[in-house]
């Protein structure tokens, strides 16, 4: 009887016991929710809301560092910024998008394998995935320059045995930038997907099996939908930082791989054009937020929050 073994399966490790229903009456004070929200709220207010509003205010000023900036509500800076840097905006979203897709494609099978076939060594495999990330972000990226130098350990040898043409290169190309972004984002995609898969109740898979679902149907109709919250979280954690990244482009990129993050950096530091830099940052933030909002509407944010409460 196939129903029998299912009953002996241990509960998934993430499952918690029944919730405790007890609630002390003194916790029912109407101020409690505000007090609980206060530390986090203040933190966000001081380090996020205030700087963001200052940024908005600065973006509407005109002037220069020497003569000073004056609030003129110069809204034209926004269309100007978009017009002037449309290439870099589009490139950033393209690179961020490609990187995200690559991350899903690479991380999903790996997370699946670790979650369902990793056995006792699951945590070892996860540790191995994370191991490179104990090294500083910049050092990791710079090490690519050493490994992938035109005549370096990898390409040099491949060229010597004639597998690659002499003028082939990886560094200073958009491939290198997207590769670097993907590499640096990989665990942020893998971990949420792994958590979603690992928490899946094996009874569901067995039930699907009992109902004569083939392997493809089990994956397509049970595993994949149940892991979508993990994918959603992974996409957020990957796409947003990858799109606004500037380190990979400046270390690995060539002449036409400037991303919007590099532009913000130059506009702010080198050109000391604080209004324009603020405007570009604000535009980037708004586009990302709108994008995420649409994405959340399509896939449903409730699932993400459910992830944390299960």
């Amino acid at each position: 009887m196939s129903a029998e073994p299912a009953a002996t399966v241990a509960p998934a490790p993430g499952a918690t016991g029944p919730r405790r229903g007890r609630r002390g009456a003194r916790w029912r004070s109407p101020f409690t929710p505000y007090l609980l929200a206060l530390p986090g709220g203040l933190w966000l207010a001081i380090f996020f809301v205030v700087p963001m509003l200052v940024m908005l205010s600065v973006s509407l000023q005109t002037g220069n560092v020497v003569d000073g900036f004056v609030q003129t509500f110069h809204f034209a800076v926004y269309p100007d910024a978009i017009r002037q840097y449309s290439d870099q905006f589009i490139r950033s979203f393209a690179y961020g998008g490609i990187c995200t897709v690559l991350c899903v494609v690479l991380a999903y099978p790996m997370a699946y394998w670790i979650a369902f076939h990793g056995g006792r060594r699951r945590s070892t495999y996860l540790f191995l995935v994370l191991l490179p990330f104990f090294v500083s972000f910049v050092i990791r990226t710079v090490s690519w320059k050493f490994l992938l130098a035109d005549d370096g350990v990898l390409l040099g040898n491949l060229k010597d045995i004639g597998l690659l043409p002499d003028d082939f290169r990886v560094l200073a190309t958009s491939t290198a930038v997207i590769g670097g972004l993907t590499y640096n984002s990989f665990p942020f995609m893998l971990l949420p997907i792994y958590v979603a898969l690992e928490r899946m109740d094996p009874k569901l898979l067995e039930a699907a099996d009992d109902l004569y679902a083939g392997r493809a149907a089990v994956f397509g109709r049970v595993v994949l939908p149940l892991s979508m919250p993990g994918v959603f979280a992974g996409v957020l954690l990957t796409f947003v930082p990858a799109t606004s990244d500037y380190v990979n482009a400046s270390i690995l990129g060539g002449t036409s791989d400037t991303m919007i993050g590099n532009i913000i950096q130059t506009t702010f530091l080198t050109n000391a054009d604080y209004p324009l830099a603020s405007a570009i940052s604000f535009i980037l933030m708004v586009i990302l937020l709108v994008g995420i909002f649409i994405y959340a509407r399509v896939l449903g944010t409730r699932d993400v929050f459910e992830m944390g409460t299960r």
Binding site: Y34, V49, L53, G68, Q71, S256, N271, A272
Partner: protein
């Protein structure tokens, strides 16, 4: 930035009016107020206040109002302490790496203890870091800083952030400094600055890769080297050397010249000749063979050659750039007398020689040549020949309006 009440601000009528809406007031007095509304209201009030916030006050000091040396130096005395902020790897270090012999000698000779910090990574971010304190008239914790001549040094001077130097306190400088750093175009009369070290911007190449001797700026545009040419990704060296390469003296250049230079550089990029626009990392790419030929700074190349790499540095026949890193005293310095004492002290030939041995850039004291090792004394990168120096130019000094135009023309070259 100061936040004014919106009523006294001229731009206030344009801001969202923070006046209390009767409907809102009614809402506030009734217990219908949800948690979300509280947060929403708080945000709205903050937004209104900040949008009405006034701009950053103009900081420019009129020439007439700028501090005269005698006013600044009156009542200032030696304290035997000096906080010196410099760039990394820019001073002599003892064998064990624990001390700086020239600073130890300075202490023995003058009694002034130097707190040496290597906290200047580049001019722009350092300017961004210290600007708010200097604008507010507060100490930045440094009495002596080192800034390259160029757009950011101009800003330090224009904004009145630097103390005017008392020339009577600089006799050794007056006696020993090279002509190239006395009365420079970026600081006439050395009113605010005294040179620390200078360097040349020219071309470095690997003769084994290029297969020929490089002599001209035009070699950077040779399609044969496509994909292996390095250019600087900055708004100083890249544009100025391009102007020199076109036979234009940057200091006398016009916006038309800038556009022509940018056009030439843009074509170099779209033709696929440039591999990448580099900051400091071009030298690693040259050493690893990714670059065959690149814009370069003389001292970097000297260090690579000293470590056995087959690289050469040339001042192109069209000319090169001579830049100078300058010691200056922030207007808010706590120990200015000690700082100016040090400024003068490093112009003693034996001290300049100690520094030159380690730093490998161009010393501002030509007579130090007799005190350095022969390898150094013979190097044209440390003691450049008269003919090389005669070919060099200085960076264009830009007014703020010119700078905006300059950046608009050249930024798209290196950040396309």
């Amino acid at each position: 930035m100061t936040t004014h009440g919106s009523s006294d601000h001229p731009g206030a009528h344009q801001a969202p009016a923070p006046a209390v809406n009767p409907a809102l007031l009614r809402g506030l007095t009734q217990p219908r107020l949800g948690r979300r509304d509280v947060f929403r209201l708080g945000g709205l009030a903050g937004a209104a206040a900040l949008l009405a916030a006034c701009g950053v006050k103009g900081e420019k000091k009129d020439d007439s109002a700028s501090v005269v040396p005698s006013d600044f130096w009156a009542g200032k005395t030696k304290t035997n302490t000096l906080d010196f902020s410099n760039w990394p790897l820019y001073i002599d270090v003892s064998e064990d790496g624990k001390s700086n012999p020239s600073l130890d000698k300075f202490k023995a000779d003058t009694g002034i203890k130097v707190n040496y910090r290597e906290d200047i990574q580049d001019n722009e971010s350092y300017f961004g870091k210290v600007r708010p304190s200097l604008a507010a008239g507060k100490s930045i914790g440094a009495d002596l800083i080192v800034i390259t001549n160029g757009i950011f040094l101009d800003k330090f001077i224009q904004l009145g952030y630097l103390a005017p130097l008392d020339q009577t306190k600089l006799p050794t400088f007056a006696a020993n400094a090279d002509a190239s750093v006395k009365n420079p175009s970026y600081d006439p009369g050395n009113k605010y600055t005294v040179a620390w070290q200078s360097g040349l911007t020219g071309i470095a190449y690997d003769p084994a890769k290029t297969g020929r001797e490089i002599t001209s700026y035009e070699d950077l545009f040779d399609p044969k080297f496509a994909g292996h040419v390095g250019m600087f990704g900055d708004n100083l060296d890249l544009p100025n050397l391009a102007l020199v390469g076109m036979g234009v003296n940057p200091e006398k250049s016009t916006p038309d010249d800038w556009k022509k230079a940018a056009e030439k550089l843009n074509k170099q990029r779209t033709d696929g000749i440039v591999r990448k626009y580099y900051t400091q990392d071009y030298i690693d790419a040259l050493a690893s063979g990714d670059l065959w030929i690149s814009m370069a700074w003389s001292g970097d190349v000297y260090q690579q050659v000293a470590s056995g790499k087959n690289l050469r540095f040339i001042v192109p026949k069209e000319g090169g750039i001579l830049w100078t890193d300058n010691m200056c005293i922030p207007i808010t310095a706590q120990h200015p007398v000690d700082a100016i004492t040090y400024m003068d002290y490093v112009y003693k030939p034996e001290i300049a020689a100690m520094l030159a041995e380690y730093i490998n850039y161009i010393t501002p004291v030509p007579t130090a040549k007799q005190d350095v090792s022969p390898a150094l004394a013979d190097s044209p990168l440390i003691f450049p020949s008269e003919s090389d120096l005669a070919k060099t130019h200085r960076f264009r000094v830009l007014t703020t309006d010119e700078e905006t135009e300059w950046n608009k023309i050249f930024q798209p070259v290196y950040q396309s």
